[in-house]
């Protein structure tokens, strides 16, 4: 005689359903979505999920970071190099609030990360219970979508929706807050991937009229310029961009997050846009008669003073997020579409062309920049080591094959300016947020996502110490990430601004640092300090030759400034090459 429960169990099995706890359902959902790696940190409210995780060790690898912020950054970097959503777990209260910087960072840079936070039992919500935080309220302005789950049977549908929202359209982080009781109670589990939400439409019909008008403008332009942004990489439009640029002969400039979307050594590539971008693309933005912006959002660091930005140009904006169109720069043609689809449609409509005279202007600028900035920066024969020569050397030794991760500040600008990117998604950096402390955990996430690649993380001595505890994660999982500390005993970028705009009053930017080699060694990470130019190459080769992690502490010129620079409030055409 079967009991009622057994009967129910049998019926469910017939329907392909299992009777499992909410915690187990969460893990099953992740497996259904193709997840194999989770970054996170346990705590009281999330214990049921972590307990279940032990039974899934063969299918789900959990990387225990040393701080939730580290887990968030690592998950974002993992997503950026793999193209799959990053997954991050944290407990309620402080666990969840520690994620916030990481969530905001992923939000501003459009990276799909699924954050799962635990919440106190549903009956205690709103009572200021121990480790209770309203993370739904806190994360609302920095997530693409968030949702609290209080009933176990809602888990599969909400997780499916979260993945769909995170990945599609303009990607972004989502947060699911799951109460402890929902993790412990059981549900009849069945998973169905989400591919439709009535109020959310990421598949925008092609704006063929706008594309046709754009083609006419492109075919009549005399000084056109393509501005390639992160959207090119996100939509996987690298080939289309290349084909489009090659057919039309139009030069290409890139935003910071757009780097690696177009080969650095291509004859049509003119360099990096923005505050510390290259001379040519900044100066000549204001000479262009047509700007084709692809998957970018005219951030203030790119445009400089908006009142004096690209006034001679007609502007075509290809952008999947309609809220970005006409937000900062009023455009003439809006193509509210995915970059890949729009470019694919545009290519047959544009004529073959070349703009040799126009491109020569960029090359003249390149020469000027080389003489005034690049040469002294990358080939100094005396004085202390400079950041530019370090990055150039790494670029040469790795032949542009490495994935470059950066922290924020001068180290980031040098890495972006001097590394020659050859492969899509080979730069992981914190663009919109400018989060110091991003570099080390992001390096870990990138290496775990792409173990086949050399991952080099550039960090300053300031940013390293913001998340230095993640050396413990490297130790525990033996993550073979190569860390280069560009050490000038200063918060370099802030010091540069004090130098230029605050009469050299170095308020709280000088750092007294510990011995980073000793610290690395304490974590069993081989390390070396370099202060002589002639030891640079050999120590880099030593770092890259080893199979494990390595920390190279490079003593850098104390008061070096990054140039060119578009000063805040200045026009891009007022880009400065020297002090």
């Amino acid at each position: 005689m079967k009991t009622e429960q057994e009967k129910e169990q049998a019926t469910m099995e017939l329907n392909g359903q299992e009777h499992i706890t909410g915690a187990e359902a969460i893990l099953q959902c992740l497996i259904e979505e193709g997840v194999d790696t989770i970054f996170g940190y346990p705590g009281g409210a999330i214990m049921p999920i972590y307990d279940k995780l032990m039974d899934y060790e063969d299918r789900l690898r959990h990387i225990l970071t040393r701080h939730e912020q580290g887990a968030a950054h690592a998950a974002q970097a993992y997503a950026m190099v793999t193209g799959r959503p990053g997954i991050c777990f944290a407990t309620s209260g402080p666990g969840a609030t520690n994620l916030v910087t990481g969530i905001a960072n992923a939000f501003l840079d459009s990276v799909p990360v699924v954050f799962i936070t635990a919440q106190v039992v549903s009956g205690l919500i709103g009572t200021d219970a121990f480790q209770e935080t309203d993370i739904i309220g806190v994360s609302m302005p920095v997530t693409k979508w968030n949702c609290q789950v209080k009933k176990p049977q809602d888990i599969p549908e909400v997780i499916a929706k979260a993945f769909y929202i995170a990945k599609t359209g303009r990607p972004g982080p989502v947060l699911i807050d799951i109460t402890k009781d929902a993790q412990l109670e059981k549900l009849n589990f069945k998973y169905k991937k989400c591919d439709y939400i009535r109020s959310y439409n990421p598949h925008i019909p092609l704006h063929t009229k706008a594309i046709e008008s754009a083609a006419i403008m492109i075919n009549h332009a005399e000084r056109p310029l393509i501005l390639a942004g992160h959207g090119v990489l996100i939509s996987g439009a690298e080939d289309e961009l290349k084909a489009f640029a090659e057919k039309t002969g139009i030069p290409v400039a890139s935003t910071l997050l757009g780097l690696s979307g177009f080969p650095s050594d291509h004859r049509l590539f003119t360099g990096l846009l923005g505050m510390h971008g290259n001379y040519g693309p900044n100066l000549l933005t204001n000479e262009a008669d047509l700007i084709i912006a692809v998957g970018m959002r005219f951030d203030d660091r790119v445009t400089g003073n908006l009142k004096k930005y690209a006034k001679k140009a007609t502007i075509i904006h290809i952008e999947i997020d309609e809220a970005e169109i006409n937000k900062n720069v009023i455009v003439d043609v809006e193509i509210h579409n995915d970059a890949k689809e729009a470019l694919r449609c545009l290519i047959p409509l544009v004529k073959e062309n070349s703009f040799e005279k126009w491109i020569r202007e960029f090359r003249i600028c390149d020469k000027i920049e080389y003489e005034k900035v690049i040469k002294p920066e990358t080939k100094p024969d005396k004085g202390e080591i400079r950041m530019g020569e370090v990055v150039t050397l790494i670029s040469e030794i790795t032949k542009g094959e490495a994935i470059i991760v950066t922290d924020v500040g001068q180290n980031q600008m040098y890495a972006a300016r001097y590394y020659k990117f050859n492969h899509p998604n080979s730069l992981v950096t914190s663009g919109g947020m400018g989060t110091m402390g991003f570099g080390l955990p992001a390096g870990i996430g990138a290496k775990i996502g792409r173990p086949d690649k050399i991952v080099v993380t550039f960090v300053g001595d300031g940013g390293l110490q913001m998340t230095i505890q993640e050396l413990g994660t490297i130790l525990q999982y033996n993550v073979p990430v190569k860390i280069i500390v560009l050490n000038n005993n200063f918060l370099g970028m802030v010091r540069q601004w004090q130098d230029m705009f605050f009469e050299k009053r170095y308020a709280s930017t000088k750092l007294v640092n510990p011995d980073f080699v000793m610290i690395a060694n304490a974590y069993n990470i081989p390390a070396k300090k370099v202060s002589k130019r002639e030891e640079l190459r050999s120590s880099m080769e030593e770092m890259l030759a080893g199979e494990g992690p390595f920390l190279l502490d490079i003593v850098i010129e104390k008061e070096g400034n990054v140039f060119p620079m578009v000063e805040p409030g200045s026009s891009v055409s007022e880009v400065r090459l020297t002090y």
Partner: protein, 184 residues
């Protein structure tokens, strides 16, 4: 130039949507002049009617940001001449003040208002109309001893012919059948 706009936001029934919408306005330093939430003609779809005073460029920007929210179905922005709208106001006044002669009757009739309740101490008057009409009545009642005044947000109906249902259908089709490139 700043002017008055009525933003109609059609949303799914999702907890927190109101917070998301006010965050967008707060970030751009836009004050909400009036706010109403109600069910719409489509079952399960809610209508938020928000009146703001801002420039037409800014209202377009915030409308696009609202429409970007996952649980928002559609956002419309209208100037006052593109909609038919009403607000409702309730006035509580002392009965003594108004009982003299036929003043009360005259005020109520001339403003197309009506009396909801009369007691020896107070009476409650209701007026439906636009902002100006309501403030006119308010100024006439004030001298008689106004005890309370409360006014609703704006409820609005658009003059446009295309209704929400048609938009929902279009969105649905676009969503279900991912368009393939047709140009060549």
């Amino acid at each position: 130039m700043k002017q008055e706009f009525t933003i109609s936001v059609f949303t799914e029934d999702h907890i927190g949507i109101l917070g998301q919408i006010t965050i967008i306005l707060t970030r751009r330093q836009i004050n909400i002049d009036s706010f109403t939430a109600s069910e719409s003609a489509v079952k399960g779809v809610y209508l938020l009617t928000i009146v703001v005073n801002t420039t037409s460029e800014m209202v377009q920007k915030v409308a696009r940001q609202m429409e970007k929210l996952i649980d928002v179905l559609k956002v419309f922005v209208h100037t006052s001449d593109q909609i038919i709208y009403q607000e409702i106001a309730l006035f509580k006044v002392t009965t003594n003040g108004l009982m003299s002669g036929n003043v009360i009757d005259h005020i109520v009739r001339s403003h197309y208002a009506r009396i909801l309740e009369v007691s020896p101490e107070y009476m409650v008057i209701e007026k439906t109309g636009n902002k100006i009409e309501i403030s006119e009545l308010l100024s006439q009642l004030e001298p008689f001893g106004l005890l309370q005044f409360a006014k609703s947000g704006r409820v609005a109906i658009t003059k446009q012919v295309k209704e929400l249902n048609a938009y929902l259908k279009e969105m649905d089709e676009a969503n279900r059948y991912k368009t393939e490139p047709t140009l060549n």
